[in-house]
């Protein structure tokens, strides 16, 4: 079984096919950015991107994503640690408090901005409408996503793996 994870191709032991995807990422690969929080797909803390679309993975098995492209929060920044412009916008806007929703929120916003780099605040609200946050009241998260949108208007950055020239 093959997975494309964070830009790398990965061969997965068939024995792990039935394993919960979130456990596979967290336990086998130590990619703990996706969080266990409700186990029923209600909160969005486990969101990653599958073929550029946000997916709550707590109810998915490894076999469900075989052959697909996965992006977790650990794959968004550049290898040298430079934050993706969207991540930097979250930091700059004060969009982070406890941080438990942050990975899912950032990835959901990333997928959204690639499709709509000129969003209204209402459209941003709808895009993150299924990711719960109990700390921030969403306002500074929306500020961050709105501020980061400009970085997505450059086609070069549209694959999400390249930062715009600073």
């Amino acid at each position: 079984m093959k997975l494309h994870l964070n830009g790398r191709e990965l061969t997965v032991d068939e024995a792990l096919a039935e394993k919960r995807l979130i456990e596979y990422l967290r336990e086998e690969l130590d990619l703990t950015g996706a969080k266990n929080a409700c186990d029923i797909g209600a909160c969005g803390a486990c969101t990653i991107l599958i073929d550029d679309e946000p997916l709550k993975i707590c109810l998915k098995r490894v076999k469900d994503v075989a052959g697909h492209r996965l992006l977790t929060i650990e794959g968004l920044a550049e290898p040298d640690g430079t934050l993706h412009p969207l991540q930097q916008a979250f930091v700059d806007a004060g969009a982070i408090q406890c941080g438990f929703c942050t990975p899912g929120m950032v990835l959901t916003a990333h997928a959204f901005l690639r499709k709509n780099p000129t969003p209204t605040r209402e459209q941003i609200r709808t895009a993150i409408g299924h990711n719960l946050c109990r700390c921030t009241g969403y306002q500074q998260i929306i500020d961050a996503i709105a501020a980061a949108a400009v970085a997505y208007r450059d086609r070069e950055t549209a694959n999400g793996l390249v930062s715009p020239p600073s």
Binding site: R26, D30, L31, T32, G33, A34, K35, N36, A37, C38, D39, I40, A42, C43, A45, T72, I73, E74, L76, A77, G81, L83, Q87, F90, V91, D92, A93, G94, I96, Q97, C98, G99, F100, C101, T102, P103, V106, R121, I124, R125, T126, I128, G129, H130, N131, L132, C133, R134, C135, T136, G137, Y138, Q139, Q140, I141, I142
Partner: protein, 760 residues
């Protein structure tokens, strides 16, 4: 020049936004075992036996623990030690844990948990606090009563006050159980160390109370338990007792099995077992003079404390002290009762007894205003506390800036309140929706007040390279407490952000400074940090004053340097080295003691809190005439925070608190059927979503507090205590209907537009 902290600076932002922050469930330990709780489907029952043999024989199971395995105390509590680590004599609520199954994998433990059987004798359950007060069914027989506590206020002569009144209004209010809904459920890891210490990593907001519970359970001295601060995925007051008990059960398993053990809660267990915000029933009478002044208040407050005491006496004390809101009332008679029932336990939640009372008071004043022929704003202006006012507990407000009027006027202006008020529908609109605007305001006693001993310590330990390690008594709950403390420390010492680092908290190294609750983190922790920094500065200045050709008191700190006379200066590092050369340590420890408070439980009189904060919030909304659906259009808040240390994070507290308040107003309610919670996950417990909430404006008002070394006061809870009544008042102005219980779900048919508020 102030240090170069970017706006919204946080010491943990980079790790959190890249997913590298390690919360408790993210930590890896070799040979880790997994523990899960087991519940009995009973609400009130005598527990005769817990049969564990079948579970113990299940695949992967290492051990099944019950009350009999506890070597120390099985009953713990911050006020009354009645909270069972494992149910022993009885099951008192549906979330009581009868056993813990420990297995090689979590799935094995969950599976085996279903094999545990309990032998019980069902008892009649008491689920209504008013019924519980009859003591026909006792939750704790040994106490002889279901009454947990009472509080009172006796001020003036209420009978005379009501005689003076031109009219009296009287209403009953109810509020529901509320779930904190921190996104990270309870989780704990206990590691038996070779030195005999049990190291606890957990999602809890009070490391020292956790250590007390764990040590009591294990029957060991406090230093044999080391609770390590671990990033926490939200708390909101909810990760104290229950979270500490999860740590205690986990530690017990680690001790008996000699291996690291993790307990990771599913959401359903978390909602079933963890304590909630208290539901209140309030009967409220208010007398008002012809001049529109409140002459008297009489109220009876009944709080459902659930099966165990937790902090019910403290929560209800704040409700009592603040039972008349920010208004001067000469005659008051208030009785407050905390009551045991077989419902889910209730305890601390953001607001701590104030959201319930403000929902009552801030509607009563509007009802009274209408009856008096005044606007709600004018009525508030006539009755609210001002500089030098005396509160209902006899405290003169003269040691800080009483900014009630300032925050009110700020909100009125920002949202253009009085013009918009004239546009409200009052149940009559030609459009598809009614329009309404409303507001509410409050004052709030800061920190613990007369609830407890209030002090906080900080230690600054300067390293050989001139950087500073900060040991703190306040806990990072996700709110940015550490960041605020670093900013304060660096600011005092004239250093850059990367020259000060918070040491990872551990109960073995940091000073016990009480719990990070009561919105006391910034005022108490900040006070300690500022005092410690000043102590360190005295040490450094004394060592270099001669070199800088000035008196020690004249040495100034800034730009990473110490400045003296005529341009003479030394780097911070050079000053530190001068201290070392004098065989001194560049080290400082300081304790900030809250100014004294007083309380007489008999009369309910005293200087309840050493300072107060003032806040006002307004909201605009539309209500669909056919469906009753509420659309929030905007909200504005003004809070006097004393001084904003990290303004972006202060604004974040505003927004988060306001939205939690909107949830309280319109969506949230833990539903119980026969003592069993029916909405045990986030699909049925309805939290506000991004699409539910409006754009918000945060007005930070700053009147530095003389009692606070940093000038800062509080912000966490004030933001969460007045949005529900603001929504209630806006709904009234939109539809003409009052809502006396939460959550508010307006629906047609609407009242006749002509109906006047306050009519009996």
């Amino acid at each position: 020049m102030p240090p170069a902290f970017p706006a919204n600076w946080r010491n943990d932002a980079h790790a959190k936004v890249t997913g590298r922050t390690k919360y408790t469930d993210d930590l890896k330990f070799p040979r880790l075992l997994h523990a899960v709780p087991v519940y009995a489907d009973e609400v009130h029952a005598r527990l005769r036996a817990v049969e564990t043999a079948a579970a113990a024989a299940a695949p992967g199971v290492v051990r099944v623990l019950t009350a009999r395995d506890v070597p120390g105390a099985n009953r713990v509590g911050q006020i009354i030690a009645d909270f069972r680590i494992f149910a022993d004599d009885k099951i008192r609520y549906h979330g009581d844990v009868v056993a813990v199954v420990v297995a090689e994998t979590r799935d094995q433990a969950i599976h085996a948990g279903r094999l545990v059987r309990v032998d019980t004798v069902p008892l009649a359950a008491v689920l209504d606090p008013e019924v519980a007060l009859r003591d026909e069914v006792l939750v704790h027989e040994e106490r002889g009563t279901n009454l947990i506590n009472t509080h009172r206020v006796r001020r003036g002569d209420p009978e005379a006050g009501f005689r003076e009144a031109a009219f009296v209004i009287e209403h009953d209010f109810r509020t529901p159980f509320i779930e904190h809904a921190y996104l990270e459920p309870e989780v704990a890891v206990a590691v038996p160390r070779p030195d005999g210490v049990f190291e606890i990593h957990g999602s809890m907001q009070h490391p020292f109370s956790t250590r007390r519970f764990v040590a009591a359970c294990l029957g060991c001295p406090l230093p044999q338990v080391e609770v390590v601060g671990t990033p926490m995925g939200g708390g909101f007051g909810g990760k104290d007792d229950t979270a500490a008990i999860v740590c205690a059960r986990t530690a017990l398993a680690a001790r008996l099995l000699g291996r690291p053990v993790k307990t990771m809660y599913q959401r359903g267990w978390s909602i079933r077992e963890s304590y909630k915000r208290h539901p209140y029933r309030v009967h409220y009478r208010m007398g008002v003079s012809a001049a529109g002044l409140i002459t008297a208040v009489e109220c009876r407050i009944v709080a459902d404390g659930g099966a165990y005491c937790s902090v019910t006496p403290w929560v209800t004390w704040r409700s009592t002290v603040q039972c008349c809101g920010p208004y001067v009332v000469p005659h008051v008679h208030c009785d407050t009762l905390g009551v045991y029932t077989n419902n889910v336990v209730t305890g601390a939640m953001r607001g701590f007894g104030s959201p319930q009372m403000n929902f009552v008071v801030e509607q009563m004043v509007e009802i009274a205003a209408a009856r008096a022929g005044l606007s709600g704003i004018e009525f508030r202006r006539r009755n609210m506390v001002r500089q030098g006012s005396v509160t209902i507990t006899g405290q003169r407000l003269d040691n800080h800036t009483v900014s009630m009027g300032e925050v009110l006027e700020a909100v009125l202006k920002e949202i253009d309140y009085e013009r918009k008020l004239s546009r409200c529908s009052h149940g009559h609109s030609d459009a598809a929706e009614f329009y309404g605007i409303g507001l509410a305001m409050s004052y709030r006693g800061v920190s613990l007040g007369a609830e407890g001993v209030d002090l906080c310590a900080a230690i600054l330990n300067v390293q050989a390279d001139g950087t500073v390690v900060l040991d703190l008594g306040v806990h990072e709950n996700g709110q940015g407490a550490e960041s605020a403390m670093v900013i304060l420390c660096a600011g005092e010492l004239g250093l850059e952000p990367d020259q000060v680092r918070c040491q990872r908290a551990s109960t073995s190294t940091i000073p016990d400074s009480g719990t990070t609750v009561a919105s006391r983190g910034t005022i108490m922790g900040g006070g300690a940090v500022v005092l410690a920094a000043r102590e360190l500065k005295r040490k450094l200045a004394a060592a270099v004053a001669e070199t800088l050709r000035c008196a020690p008191a004249e040495v100034r700190f800034g730009d990473g340097r110490l400045h003296g006379a005529a341009g003479a200066s030394l780097s911070f590092l050079e000053a530190v080295q001068a201290v070392w050369r004098q065989r001194e340590r560049p080290h400082a420890c300081a304790v900030f003691r809250a100014p004294s408070v007083s309380w007489d439980e008999e009369t309910g009189q005293g200087d309840a809190y050493f300072t107060w904060v003032y806040g006002c919030q307004a909201v605009e909304l539309a209500v669909h005439k056919q469906t009753g659906k509420v659309r929030l259009l905007g909200a504005v808040a003004a809070h006097d925070v004393g001084r904003a240390i990290n303004p972006g994070m202060v604004a974040g507290q505003f927004y988060g608190g306001m939205v939690m308040g909107l949830g309280y107003a319109l969506h949230e309610e833990v539903k119980l059927k026969d003592g069993r919670i029916t909405n045990t996950n986030l699909n049925t417990y309805r939290l506000p979503r991004a699409t539910d909430v409006p754009e918000m404006t945060a007005l930070i008002i700053e009147n530095p507090d003389p009692a606070s070394p940093s000038g800062a006061k509080s912000i966490g809870e004030p933001t969460n205590e007045i949005m529900a009544p603001a929504v209630a008042n806006a709904l009234f102005h939109a539809t003409g209907r009052r809502h006396f219980s939460l959550p508010m779900r307006p629906a047609p048919p609407w009242p006749e537009p002509a109906s006047t508020e306050g009519a009996p």
